[in-house]
């Protein structure tokens, strides 16, 4: 005799019920946790921006953000101005840090004018210009917050990624990599050159800050190239702003 669970009708019935139950469960979990997750992401953005301008709780060789409960307060204290640059015009927007760079890149592809958020931070009477950028790594998206001075010399950087290989490409968010960018020049003789993550740098201690190069991570060539391309393509868009600033 055929078992009940072998029948086609039962199989279809089971599949439908399973899909409905699992779907409902996932939808319920996702919507119940949606707000908390969005809040975590918002806090993380603030932490990232502050990290780039040197407001962090780094210990030894570990990168630590300002703690969650202090971040809102610090953000208000250090970030003095946020605005969006569009076709050379600046419009203030205190929610500029929430702009989704991915969406901006996509809409620019469709012929729209890209909105470029920029955050001004002040710490110890020093001014930081912090730009959010985004690019492609080996497996998925990579992004960064780069803090610069008015000459486009990097003052601090925070890199992050969605799915780079742990131990290799994922090391872009380790201090030994991020700290290499500090003091590095983006311009060379008045033209924008970016910073190349180079395998043939020959300067592991990064003593030469004007060579537009930092040392690459062994085994993470494509992630490194992604960082190079991201910096070159994205920060280039901010060059007119910095040129204006000097005049």
């Amino acid at each position: 005799m055929e078992k009940r669970t072998e029948k086609n009708s039962y199989t279809v019935f089971f599949a439908i019920i399973m899909v409905v139950i699992v779907g409902a469960l996932l939808a319920f979990t996702a919507s119940a946790l949606k707000e908390r997750i969005a809040e975590n992401k918002r806090i993380e953005k603030q932490q990232n921006i502050l990290y780039a301008m040197g407001v962090n709780e780094n210990e030894g060789n570990k990168a630590n953000f300002v703690s969650k409960d202090k971040v809102g307060e610090s953000f208000k204290k250090y970030i003095t101005n946020q605005f969006v640059i569009q076709q050379g015009n600046e419009s203030p927007d205190d929610q500029a840090y929430l702009i989704d760079i991915k969406k901006e890149q996509e809409s620019a592809k469709n012929g729209n004018v890209r909105r470029l958020p920029l955050f001004i931070g002040e710490k110890d009477e020093k001014k930081f210009y912090i730009a959010p950028i985004r690019g492609k790594g080996l497996w998925d998206a990579i992004w960064a917050y780069i803090a610069m001075d008015e000459n486009m010399v990097v003052q601090g950087a925070y890199f992050d990624h969605k799915g780079e290989t742990p131990g290799l490409g994922a090391n872009i968010k380790e201090r030994f990599f991020m700290d290499d960018f500090i003091g590095e020049h983006l311009m060379s003789n008045g033209t924008f050159k970016g910073i190349t993550v180079s395998k043939s740098n020959g300067d592991p201690k990064n003593d030469d800050k004007t060579d537009n190069e930092v040392d690459a991570i062994a085994g993470a060539t494509i992630t490194g190239d992604g960082v190079t391309a991201m910096i070159r393509n994205e920060l280039k868009l901010y060059v007119p702003y910095f040129k204006n600033l000097k005049n």
Partner: protein, 215 residues
């Protein structure tokens, strides 16, 4: 193991050595190669698999009598995927930093053949408690190998353990680097993980000849 009967404790202890999912059954190799460049990543992955496999085995065991055999693989896949997504969402909401650490691992768990293998080979034919023990045992067996491989790859490849520079600073030439020692960058690449797993298999089989299959 006073708590467990002899048969039950065998479920946990067997996969640790003589029936290890990686070195004997040769399952889950892909993730063992991918994420063992760092010891910390190995540990995190082991814990994640422990959780998913323990829970997944129980779920499959509970519904084993009503699963239509024609679509059982799809059902198993759905259960793993649903569990993994729920775990991921909960982590994102309540332990955001940890979820960032896990990033790719969570996705990798779904494709880990050990999980499907245990669902298919054990949970479909055994009760929830025994399935739970089997899941824990196999995840531990998997974890041990991951941690051994991660230990050697991080130590020899980067000269660090859990991020601490145990061999000295390679740039300032302190510790063993003062004597001309260099990190072996090749250890960081996947082929060396396979070679390390191969060495473990070799050691294990030369200690216990019964494990050698004749072909």
């Amino acid at each position: 193991m006073g708590l467990l009967s002899k048969k039950d404790s065998k479920l946990i202890l067997d996969p640790l050595a003589d029936n290890n999912p990686i070195t004997i059954q040769v399952l889950g190799i892909c993730s063992a190669l991918a994420i063992t460049a760092q010891l910390k990543a190995s540990i995190v992955m082991s814990i994640s698999v422990l959780f998913v496999l323990g829970l997944g085995n129980v779920v499959i065991s509970l519904i084993r009598n009503i699963i239509p055999s024609k679509i059982r693989i799809i059902v198993q896949l759905t259960v793993v995927a649903a569990l993994v997504i729920i775990v991921d969402l909960v982590l994102k909401a309540f332990a955001y930093e940890l979820s960032k650490e896990l990033s790719v691992f969570v996705g990798l768990i779904i494709t880990n053949c050990i999980i499907m293998g245990r669902f298919e080979a054990f949970a479909l034919g055994n009760g929830p408690w025994r399935s739970f023990l089997d899941g824990i045992g196999n995840a531990l067996g998997y974890g041990i190998i991951l941690i051994i491989v991660g230990f050697f790859r991080e130590l020899l490849g980067s000269g660090t353990l859990l991020g601490f520079q145990v061999l000295g600073d390679p740039i300032d030439k302190t510790g063993v680097y003062a004597f001309g020692y260099e990190n072996n960058g090749f250890m960081l690449l996947s082929p060396m993980a396979l070679i390390v797993v191969g060495l473990i298999i070799w050691v294990q089989r030369s200690r216990n000849k019964a494990l050698i299959e004749d072909h």
